[in-house]
Symmetry: C2
Subunit: 200 residues, 2 copies
Amino acid sequence: MKNKELQEQRMRGYFIEATKNLIKGEGIRSVSVRAVADHAGYSFATMYNYFRDLNELIFLCVQDFQEECRLDVEEQVKMVKGGCHERVKARVMAYIRFFTEYPGIFELFFTARAYDLGNREGTLITIERSLENVCKPAWDECLESGTLTVEQAALIAESLRHTVTGMLVMYLNRRRPASYKDFQEMVHRQVDRILKVHHE
Amino acid sequence: MKNKELQEQRMRGYFIEATKNLIKGEGIRSVSVRAVADHAGYSFATMYNYFRDLNELIFLCVQDFQEECRLDVEEQVKMVKGGCHERVKARVMAYIRFFTEYPGIFELFFTARAYDLGNREGTLITIERSLENVCKPAWDECLESGTLTVEQAALIAESLRHTVTGMLVMYLNRRRPASYKDFQEMVHRQVDRILKVHHE
DNA sequence: CAAAGATAATGAACAATGTTAATATATTGC
DNA sequence: GCAATATATTAACATTGTTCATTATCTTTG
């Protein structure tokens, strides 16, 4: 039966959609089996007919959120002009803005406990490469124009990845810096530093 | 009565010690009111006579762990010779080693949920400055020898703080890189990059 | 030293959580 | 339409944090 497959996929979609809305709106803490089931319009036990456990359901949202992040960044940088430096920076800034807008998604990506995720290597890689993925068009431009070599770009990307993750962890989880303004200034300072170094 | 104060302090100490051992040994997930009370030798309800809630108890461990981290690093770098660059790097590496050895402490410092910690600004600052604090002797040396200006040191420290936090988040929470060896290589690469830049 | 009063430790109880197993309900095949 | 299967739901359990009434213990006083 092809129907069965389709119906199952639809059911999974209902639960995933409900979970995504909860994460985006209220954060991961608000995600419980009962809350998700309520939003999906089913009983809490029904979830277990379609997902191994709550953890699997939660982490299935990662792929969707990654795509959502990419589209959001694309929208934000649509009007940005300038060279390699400016384009990469604009995307990094948009990436940061996305996660400050949806702290629950950041939590899911980087700090939420993932028991069994040891197996699901793909999800971990998606998370690791989320910034690179979002910046890809700008990187490609840099490479094509010869502004950077592949090795240089890889090193900068690695550097940006960790610095951005670190700053977001500090700001979203520990309120440091204490104000958004200070955070913003720090972000500019750090991103500029990383991007400028390799332009000399 | 001074006795009462002393006794209360002692009781708090028993619970804090139990919590610290649990965090170091089994991670934050293993910390429950019942587990802590068991290890402290009291009933679970007794905890509430000395702490507002479990969260307060958990985050009271931060100060102790910070000191423990500092001592651990001091021990690790005792024999290190060399200039400013080498001494700072040695401390950063020791800091990272400490947290890879005790992932539970890293979780507590950077990713554990802290509901009410908005008030306890001091704890947040302790966490933010943990790496700077640990590296302070080396920074002082750099400043005194004139290798770096205060502004340069501050910028490098900020850079190190976020990069190190980011790398640890990726490695401890998301197993990326997948092997300790790759992680170690990346750490060297990134720390060198940050420290070298300002030597030119 | 013993009784009254204060203090501190405790167990019962509650709500919320994730999860499983048994039951009820729909759907499908004949 | 009925039996067989698949699916959704309710019941139940173990754990969690937390509160509160009740013990147990310690202190003070007569």
